[in-house]
């Protein structure tokens, strides 16, 4: 087995909770909330891992922690043998780890032209180009945009076009890994396909390692090799994409899959309705943190927290009573 290119070990990210007078008076554990609460994950070179979760699951925070946009409160991050948790030279690291952001046009500096935007990585890293104009046009072409876009400003781009500029820019320095935060957010389904095809093509051409953050389950099968499902800052299930989609072992994963109706009026939907909403980060439930919403919770779930362990399949799940394949069929 090859050496993983990215290794996360018990990664913890904290945000300040209560501030001011209240914060001073509150017990220490309430002064901080854990947005990411101990995540371990290996990503192999050339692999695509999708991190799936709803709002508040900590998936975006995790991606930002990997390339140092938010500080780690604990744990280790190793990228290609470099310890990113020990004050690395971020300037150098970020040259090799590119990031794509959620808001396609909001992540483009509003007073720069597209040409400046795609050349920005070269400017940042002090790379002299013989013919910057040609390079910019080249990069845009890889992302499927014509040279007539070079002179435009971000507000003159549609969501899909802005997304393409983001892709062009992420590829500019030939990175080893790309962190893509919600690559389909804000895009209509008719455009979504084009962007995903673009990503897939580039991944194949450059042998890129990719971490995709998404809440869009529909795209998983077509972009990811493995999937990690997050809930309240922890991974609750991890496995091969087909296995997760066809035989989810965690009740939450299963509810998530079921909550995603297909555009087929004849399909019989077996619904699993979860009770209530995701709890706040400063009010984590006892035991298994999913138990108040879990349709199959038993009394001990409230007392004992499950650990991430092997599933009947090849994946990992943190549940005392994971769903077995045969149960799926009878349900």
């Amino acid at each position: 087995m090859t050496q993983p290119i990215l290794t996360l070990k018990d990664v913890v990210v904290e945000f300040p909770g209560l501030r001011g007078l209240k914060g001073l008076m509150a017990p220490p554990e309430q002064r901080h909330v854990q947005a990411v609460a101990g995540i371990s994950l290996d990503v192999q070179p050339g692999e695509t891992v999708a991190i799936v979760g709803e709002s508040g699951s900590g998936k975006t925070t995790l991606a930002r922690a990997i390339n140092g946009l938010v500080p780690l409160a604990g744990g280790e991050v190793w990228f290609d043998g470099m310890p990113l948790h020990e004050r690395p030279d971020w300037h150098a690291v970020r040259r090799r780890v590119a990031m794509m952001f959620q808001d396609p046009s909001g992540s483009l500096s509003p007073r720069k032209t597209v040409r400046d935007l795609v050349l920005e990585p070269f400017a940042i890293h002090g790379i002299k180009l013989d013919d910057p104009g040609a390079k910019a046009a080249d990069l845009l072409a890889t992302a499927g945009l014509g040279p007539d876009f070079l002179a435009r400003y971000p507000h003159q781009l549609s969501g899909g076009q802005a997304r393409r500029v983001g892709v062009a820019r992420a590829l500019a320095l030939d990175p080893a890994m790309v962190l893509a935060d919600e690559p389909t957010a804000g895009l209509d389904v008719s455009i979504q396909g084009e962007i995903l095809n673009l990503l897939n093509r580039i991944k194949a051409q450059h042998g890129l390692t990719t971490v995709i953050i998404t809440h869009n389950l529909n795209i998983l099968r077509h972009v990811a090799d493995r999937v990690a499902v997050m809930y309240l800052g922890r991974i609750v299930e991890l496995g091969e994409v087909e296995q997760i989609l066809s035989t989810p072992a965690h009740p939450y994963t299963r509810a998530l899959m079921a909550a995603n109706p297909e555009p087929d009026p004849t399909a019989r939907h077996e619904r699993i309705t979860l009770k209530g909403e995701t709890p706040a980060l400063n009010a984590r439930p006892s035991g298994c943190e999913f138990h108040p919403r879990c349709p199959v919770a038993r009394p001990e779930c409230a007392e004992r927290a499950p650990l991430l362990g092997p599933t009947p399949g090849a994946g990992q799940v943190s549940c005392h009573f994971p769903i077995h394949k045969d149960e799926m069929n009878t349900a």
């Binding site: 946009l69 970020r94 808001d103 400017a123 940042i124």
Partner: protein
């Protein structure tokens, strides 16, 4: 090249309010530059035979208690007003810009310290502070400028800070950091251009405020040295003889009102043009 009517100046001229404003400001600048050529009399020449003269063909706006020509003095006053306003606004705006960006982009503790000092400086009512400092500092335009800078840079600082703070967490700044951009590049290439719009609007809106402060301080006798024909000093002369020379008050107040009106109109028009949110239509 964009056609003229689509440039900022072109769009401003198309707005009647802004056009009037620019006319007034142009008149002020011309008067200030050519005051000595245009003025019918030497602004400080006393003509005791013609004291308290009503407005006439000889003295368009009458004379004061020393027989000095009001019109000539007002022309000279424009020069003083413009000088003080431009100097004080540029100094305080630049200080405010620097501190505001430091507060907005710097570490949290520094932000708290700077914000607290902005709050503290705002607690001094301008004219009252001016009075207090007048007891300590020599009378003159530099004192006026110092008072204005002390009381107004915090306002720029506050606006720039808010703007910077909201941009600091914008995704495009995160994206820059994620690409490895350093502090200088983020601040000068990406924050600054987006902060300058509101900053210039504020500066334009502050010019008339500073002109008013200078006139006010001179009115109170703590601004320009005695004998200097600031608009405020002229008004004070009028006020001292309000029942005999009402024309000085009327004539002395008008340029002040016109100029502040002009700058305020211009500031508003600039804001409408530069701030796309406020532009009409979607």
């Amino acid at each position: 090249m964009k056609p003229f009517r689509r440039t900022l100046a072109g769009r401003l001229l198309a707005d009647p309010q802004a056009a009037i404003a620019m006319l007034i400001i142009a008149a002020l600048v011309l008067a200030a530059v050519f005051a000595d050529l245009v003025a019918p009399y030497d602004y400080s020449a006393m003509n005791l035979a013609d004291r308290f003269a009503r407005p006439s063909a000889d003295y368009w706006l009458g004379t004061d208690n020393l027989g000095r020509d009001t019109f000539s003095r007002l022309l000279q006053g424009g020069r003083i007003a413009l000088y003080v306003a431009l100097t004080a606004v540029s100094v305080s705006a630049l200080i405010g810009l620097a501190l505001g960006m430091i507060a907005g982009y710097g570490p949290r503790w520094l932000d708290n310290v700077l914000l607290f000092s902005f709050d503290t400086l705002r607690a001094y009512p301008t004219i009252i502070l001016a009075l207090a400092l007048a007891a300590l500092l020599p009378r003159g335009l530099s004192t006026v400028i110092i008072v204005v800078v002390i009381t107004s840079f915090s306002e720029y600082g506050r606006v720039v800070r808010t703007q910077t703070l909201s941009l600091k967490h914008a995704e495009f700044i995160l994206a820059e950091r994620a690409m490895g951009a350093g502090f200088g590049r983020i601040v000068f290439h990406h924050l600054l251009p987006n902060v300058l719009g509101p900053f210039f609007i504020l500066a334009a809106m502050n010019l008339p405020v500073v002109i008013t402060i200078e006139a006010g301080m001179s009115f109170l006798g703590i601004g320009v040295p005695p004998g200097t024909p600031s608009w405020g000093a002229t008004l004070k002369d009028g006020f001292d003889h309000i029942r005999t020379t009402p024309w000085i008050i009327i004539a002395g107040g008008l340029p002040l009102i016109l100029v502040t009106l002009g700058f305020t109109f211009l500031g508003e028009a600039l804001r409408d043009q530069l701030d796309p949110k406020l532009r009409r239509g979607r």
